[in-house]
């Protein structure tokens, strides 16, 4: 991705200051939440795997801005940002990370396996690319029921090389499923760069082989993501079948917490942070457009810090699940 100064001017025209502030707030919440999660991991309060979303915030915030009630979303194990963006409670997410009773899955799912029926968030899946046919299946259910909801099916550039992605593309297209395949291309599948894993690195173009339209999007620009999301959503709602968005993004942190980070240079990461940070870009836009003052933004920062601290406190204080929980939720009971 060519580095350039933070700018999102071309998509700025029809965005209100309130919307800009909302995106700023939503992205900042994800970043501060993830920083806190990293901290709790370091303290041993979060175990196992923990994949942080820092750097990629504009992807989910931009796409959620294009969604309506009843739309569904499903993703991989790097899922904290998606949950916060669709309105799930930070307390419930953080308490799931610490494996406590107050977590979304009562502590039984963990970082990679969380769900919210209320917010139409269908996980949180730990098997790379498994969520892609599952997402197509969610879209199938809406088409079958005859409503105009769409499903956002997120996966990474690593998952994009899995065979089941293309099985899902094929069926989604022949059945006109209202599924937006969102490739979050952060350029590294764990430690393997896209250059080392494929000779066709323009992932969205692979959709053409199945007759699926798509486009590449600047994932460091929340307004560009939102604009592309609106186009994709309109395509799906109109019954024209699936759509592919390849969103070029970047993760600042390691693949998981135990990532030695030897596959890319510190300078590469720093350059991205300095020049393309999605939150800084909106911040600059808010200030230069006189939509907010430094003090306004400081107040938002403070508010978000308080929300995140509250979620961490809740996650520490919520009790561990009762031992009886070991034996619940294995089978659903037949409703009488």
């Amino acid at each position: 991705m060519a580095a350039k100064k933070p700018s999102a001017k071309k998509n700025q025209s029809n965005v209100s200051p309130e919307e800009l502030l909302a995106y700023y707030r939503d992205m900042l919440l994800i970043r501060r939440f993830e920083e806190k999660a990293g901290q709790l991991y370091g303290m041993g309060l979060i175990g196992g795997f923990c994949h942080l979303y820092i750097g990629q915030e504009a992807v989910v915030v931009g796409l959620e801005a294009a969604a309506k009630e009843g739309d569904k979303r499903i993703t991989s194990y790097r899922d904290h940002g998606h949950m916060l963006a669709c309105g799930m409670d930070p307390k419930g997410v953080m308490a799931e990370l610490t494996g406590r009773e107050g977590g979304y899955s009562k502590g039984k799912g963990g970082s990679m396996h969380m769900f919210s029926k209320e917010k139409h968030f269908y996980g949180g899946h730990g098997i790379v690319a498994a969520q892609v046919p599952l997402g197509a299946g969610l879209a199938f259910s809406d088409k079958y029921k005859g409503n105009d909801n769409v499903t956002f099916t997120y996966f990474g550039d690593g998952a994009a090389n899995q065979g089941q992605v293309y099985e899902a593309y094929n069926m989604a297209e022949i059945w006109d499923l209202p599924c937006i395949f969102v490739i979050e291309n952060n350029q590294y599948a764990m430690g393997t760069s896209t250059q080392r894993s494929t000779h066709s690195p323009s992932y969205w173009e692979r959709g053409a082989a199945y007759g699926i339209e798509g486009e590449e999007v600047d994932g460091m620009d929340v307004l560009a993501v939102k604009a592309a999301g609106e186009k994709a959503v309109a395509h799906c709602r109109a019954g024209k079948g699936p759509y592919i968005l390849e969103i070029k993004t970047y993760r600042y942190r390691g693949h998981s917490m135990s990532d030695p980070a030897k596959y890319r240079t510190r300078e590469e990461v720093q350059k991205m942070r300095d020049e393309r940070d999605p939150i800084e870009a909106i911040r600059t836009m808010l200030l230069t457009g006189k939509h907010a003052t430094e003090d306004d933004l400081k107040a938002i920062d403070k508010e978000i810090k308080a929300t995140v601290n509250e979620s961490a406190e809740f996650a520490k204080e919520s009790p561990e699940p009762h031992l009886d929980e070991l034996w619940t939720d294995i089978y659903a009971e037949l409703e009488a």
Binding site: G38, G124, S141, Q164, P260, A332
Partner: protein, 459 residues
């Protein structure tokens, strides 16, 4: 307030590490994301970033120190405007070391299950009321009727698979269903088991009740990740919020002369998975009644059919809504001398053997499990308490077989009632050969069942 920076755990297993190098010094201002130090774990050297912004007040552990325990304070961070005096406050308030979750909870052992047993209670009500009219039906017709009745009853039920619609089913199970229900509900898929198993599972998360037909369960190995990781585990992983009410069905086990890749019995594989239910019927009435129960069940059900049985004819009750509950075995033949337990096509060997044994004066009790998860082990125990001898019969492989599970349950719960070791009659421990004579020997045989019964009855 000054805060302590603690030695972080950088992997799930890290307990201590080397603080290799500080990249900041006392007095430096840091902000969130700045790299503060390099830490070596047993796996790698990793960079450690600042979480909060502030000024490095004091470095407590020097660079190059080995064996620094996780959660030890390694530095003190001051807020803007704070001076060193704040550090004393920090050192008086050490961050409480979190207790590892697996050690925090006392694990009081549950008392061991009692050894002495009264005969377990079992459901022995007949499958249909006395006097019910019966009709003769093949397994194929009974299966189709079971699915069609449920599709008429619930419009969220649909059938999906290779050749289920226009071709009328590779084994003609779905004959006529496309005509009745239309292409929206009887759906031909491309040959893409992994993909359509995933799509169907996603559709079940979305509130539908899919029936997925695998042309045979051999091909479901391509889809087994979705069956187990996506369908069986989601209810648990979501804390009960959502699950997969669906049926995966198709012929399982050996057909005839189709070789190693098309002849595997998966009963023992799927039976092992919590979150799945597993049915493996023998008779046409059970194919129908269990299929209807499977479709209504709010959990993923594996429905293991058998190609050779498809054409067999049985009595089926002529009722409006005939269902068979899961977890209820059927006693096909009562006897006092030995218990023979089987399921699916294994029942053909069990019943044939029992008939021949009866001619020699040995009365076998023959139990058809019908479902393997849940399994009606009380019915087995109750019978063994009467006969004191047990033989199990299945076509699958011996190691980790259904029979080996049954024999362990019987050993634990009815040890004192056994007068002979349990014998598990299984398929041979070889890939299925093609040659007719070899194939016959690779499967379990009636002669082997008879021999096993004679052995446990010392005849």
């Amino acid at each position: 307030m000054a805060t302590e920076i603690l030695m972080p755990a950088l992997s799930p297993t890290m307990e201590e590490g080397t603080l290799a190098k500080w990249l900041v010094k006392e007095g430096d201002t840091v902000s969130s994301g700045d790299i503060m130090a390099e830490i070596e774990t047993d796996k790698a050297t990793m960079e450690f970033e600042a979480v909060d912004e502030g000024i490095v007040g004091k470095i407590l552990i020097e660079g190059g120190t080995e064996g620094v325990k996780v959660n030890t304070a390694i530095a003190i961070l001051l807020e803007e405007g704070e001076d060193a005096s704040a550090m004393e406050t920090a050192s008086q308030q050490p961050a409480s070391a979190p207790v590892p979750a697996d050690k925090a909870q006392s694990s009081e052992d549950a008392p061991a299950a009692g050894m002495a047993h009264p005969a377990p209670e079992t459901d022995t009500t007949p499958d249909w009321p006395e006097g019910t009219a019966l009709k003769q039906q093949t397994v194929r017709e009974a299966l189709r009727d079971g699915m069609s009745e449920e599709m008429r009853r619930d419009d969220t039920v649909f059938l999906m698979g290779e050749e289920v619609a226009e071709y009328q089913g590779a084994y003609k199970i779905s004959q006529g269903m496309l005509d009745e229900f239309g292409a929206k509900r009887v759906i031909d898929t491309p040959i893409t088991e992994h993909g359509f198993a995933g799509i169907a599972t996603g559709a079940s998360f979305g509130g539908l009740r899919p029936i997925v037909e695998f042309m045979t369960f051999n091909f479901a190995m391509q889809a087994i990740d979705h069956i187990i990781n996506s369908a069986a585990k989601t209810l648990y992983m979501s804390g009960g919020q959502m699950g997969a009410p669906m049926v995966f069905r198709g012929p399982n086990g050996a057909a005839a002369r189709v070789g190693a890749q098309h002849s595997q019995d998966y009963a023992a594989w799927y039976m092992q998975i919590p979150g799945l239910k597993v049915a493996m019927p023998y008779s046409a009435s059970d194919y129908k009644g269990l299929m209807k129960t499977a479709i209504r069940d709010p959990n993923p059900v594996i429905f293991l059919e058998n190609e050779i049985l498809y054409g067999r004819t049985f009595d089926v009750p002529d009722m409006d809504d005939y269902t068979v509950p899961f977890g209820k075995a059927r006693i096909w033949r009562e006897g006092d001398d030995v218990t023979i337990v089987s399921f699916g096509i294994g029942m053909t060997y069990a019943l044939e053997a029992a008939e021949k044994l009866a001619e020699e004066g040995i009365n076998a009790e023959v139990i058809d499990l019908r479902t393997l998860r849940p399994m009606d082990t009380p019915a087995i125990i109750k019978s063994v308490m009467k006969t004191n001898r047990l033989v199990t019969v299945e076509e699958g492989w011996p190691q980790g077989s259904v029979g080996s599970y049954i024999s362990s349950v019987v050993m634990q719960e009815a040890f004192d009632y056994l007068d002979a070791p349990v014998i598990c009659c299984t398929g041979k421990d070889v890939p299925m050969p093609y040659a007719a004579n070899l194939e016959k020997h690779a499967l379990v045989t009636t002669a082997e069942v008879i021999e096993a019964v004679k052995k446990v009855t010392y005849k």
